[in-house]
Symmetry: C2
Subunit: 369 residues, 2 copies
């Protein structure tokens, strides 16, 4: 080959695994709506005083030095906030990274992972990447968890992991303390509890960790903690299990900004309580007022979002989505591609003004038919 | 089982893959030396004016919103700086994450990866995690790259990837333009060039990318860019290949701080030139003055560090390491566990004062015997 004829990309691409080439690259159409209610973010920014404290701590620190091998400061704040030993805390760039690491150390071909569905799609994706067998348990009546079916599936498949997102995304359903205990006690699996939305409702399972080394709790900064821009999350589990999961994580991968900001926001949680209450009020307001509109089925939710099905004759969910965006500048999430969620949209609670604008737009669209 | 008898951790841990349990957890003894010359960091912090610009951009941004799906701003700055299309740029939390992603989409059982060794250990680790066959090619005379042997090994093993760290860590050796071209042209493998240290010396391979879709270049912010605390790196390759590698990366995993800071520092590279020149002078000074001390073998280096072997009779490399730390408060890196690097230590260039302190300490230790 001479330099005059550039080599074709074929010779490079044939080294990529066929299974990878067959995957569609994950892309997202960028969109700048007037009101953004599609990613379950907090509508409130981090309080200005807290931002300032974080910025001052950044200025103090040498940026040319590696972050510590272990993010002591972040871990200590998470441990203190949860009342759980620091040795049982792992931190990461978003809880996605922890889901990936947990499943990486457990899932192999022939290993069963029980997942109630519909739910956050990463659990299935990462289980399949590991070659595991996903055992899907459909949600039950009104999209509530079917605890009997979950226990049965885990026992019959001898599952290594049961993944429970509570409150569940994108439906909003929760598991009670008794239900979590039952799934744990009646199975032999690791119970991975993703509690990204637990500040908004449902049972916070941290008190269950003691004496239950198969239980793993994930928490995030992206929702109630108003720091989606940070991409940080943490995991609480038995120290011995945390040590195993840490082997699937790259060292030094928490930058100093995340370490500083996460620790500060955890220590300032009290400053966020009022924001969280406002968001819960808006969610309840959406639940109440959407239920009064004709042609919608609204599902119960304890998260910061509401799932609803468009059942109005002659009106598709896609028409509602498009009109919200084009006529009102409001972006919600089309979740109709999830199993069981045909014709469904998801909207997260915004500020009172954003919530009002959304509800007024919905009333206009539905009453017009 | 009753709640009175807590469950043993055994039931949790037996779900972890045996291969993972067999790995030692990676730990590092924390140490706060007076002079830190062990991690090849820049001894100079980011200039104050640049820090301020970055902090102002952070204050402007809503922290409660997710970062963009793709880090446009960071990617655009990297593309502009390299003169390479944005579609061929991937960014990550450190180039480690890119090494992991590249090897994840290529390496499977039976796939050969050629690695000249000794080198950065992550290449081997990640190849083995994927079940690949590592074909190790020992460095040659004076720890220089043995290009003939690399080409031969890649051809004979029909390697999918050849990993070349140039300048090489922890030895400092480099490959010339002609050598890189030869390894590329005479093999059929992907050529992964880790150029973490290229600002300090050796051939910068970015101009070779055009017309060579099997070539991949990695760059980092941790060394010459004085931002080890940021944990950021980027990859340059053919857009088609970058699209495949991106499938192994989690979405949204660059936080807004990294996006803002990386873009700003790339655009302010000119402000760093003087620092980089100072570091190169210190490296040359270490090379020159260490070579004059008795009982040392000093290896040539074009990186920001110097490798040397302790050959003085009656003095072990460990004794030198310990005395540097305990008597002088200077931390260097013990790399004697690498293949071929028996009795070797690595020291990175510091400020002129740090370099002087190190050289004076070495003279005291070696002359005392």
């Amino acid at each position: 080959m001479t330099r005059e004829e550039p080599e074709s990309t074929f010779r490079a691409l044939r080294h990529v695994k066929p299974r990878v080439r067959a995957l569609a690259a994950y892309t997202l159409r960028p969109c700048e709506p007037r009101i953004k209610l599609n990613q379950n973010e907090s509508p409130y920014d981090v309080p200005q005083t807290l931002k300032q404290r974080i910025q001052e701590r950044l200025a103090d620190r040498p940026w040319n030095r590696y972050p510590p091998f272990v993010s002591h400061n972040f871990i200590a704040a998470a441990a203190e906030s949860a009342g759980w030993p620091a040795e049982g805390v792992l931190v990461a760039n978003g809880s996605n990274e922890l889901i990936q690491a947990i499943l990486a150390v457990v899932v192999a071909p022939g290993v069963a992972v029980v997942i109630p569905e519909p739910t956050f799609t990463l659990y299935r994706l990462m289980s399949e990447v590991g070659g595991g067998d996903v055992v899907s348990v459909p949600l039950g009546e009104a999209l509530r968890f079917d605890v009997d079916a979950i226990v049965r599936a885990a026992r019959e498949s001898r599952a290594a992991v049961v993944v429970l997102c509570t409150p569940n995304n994108p439906t909003g359903a929760t598991l009670s303390r008794e239900e979590i205990e039952r799934i744990h006690d009646e199975t032999d699996a690791l119970i991975l509890l993703d509690q990204a939305y637990v500040e908004f409702g449902g049972y916070d399972a941290i008190p269950l960790l003691r004496g239950r080394p198969r239980l793993i709790v994930l928490r995030t900064f992206s929702k109630a903690m108003a720091m989606a821009g940070l991409r940080a999350g943490y995991m609480l589990a038995a120290p011995e299990l945390a040590a195993e999961v840490s082997k699937a994580k790259l060292p030094y991968n928490i930058n100093f900004f995340t370490e500083v900001a996460a620790a500060e926001v955890l220590r300032a949680r009290d400053e966020l309580v009022a924001q969280i209450e406002l968001i819960k009020e808006q969610r309840d307001c959406i639940l109440r007022r959407l239920a009064k509109l004709p042609g919608l089925r609204v599902f119960p939710s304890e998260a910061n979002f509401v799932l609803f099905r468009v059942e109005a004759p002659g009106l598709t969910h896609r028409a509602v989505f498009d009109r919200l965006l084009e006529e009102h500048g409001i972006l919600v999430r089309d979740v109709s591609g999830y199993p069981m969620l045909d014709r469904c949209l998801r909207v997260n609670a915004g500020t009172p003004e954003e919530t009002d604008a959304f509800l007024a737009a919905m009333a206009a669209i539905l009453n017009r038919g």
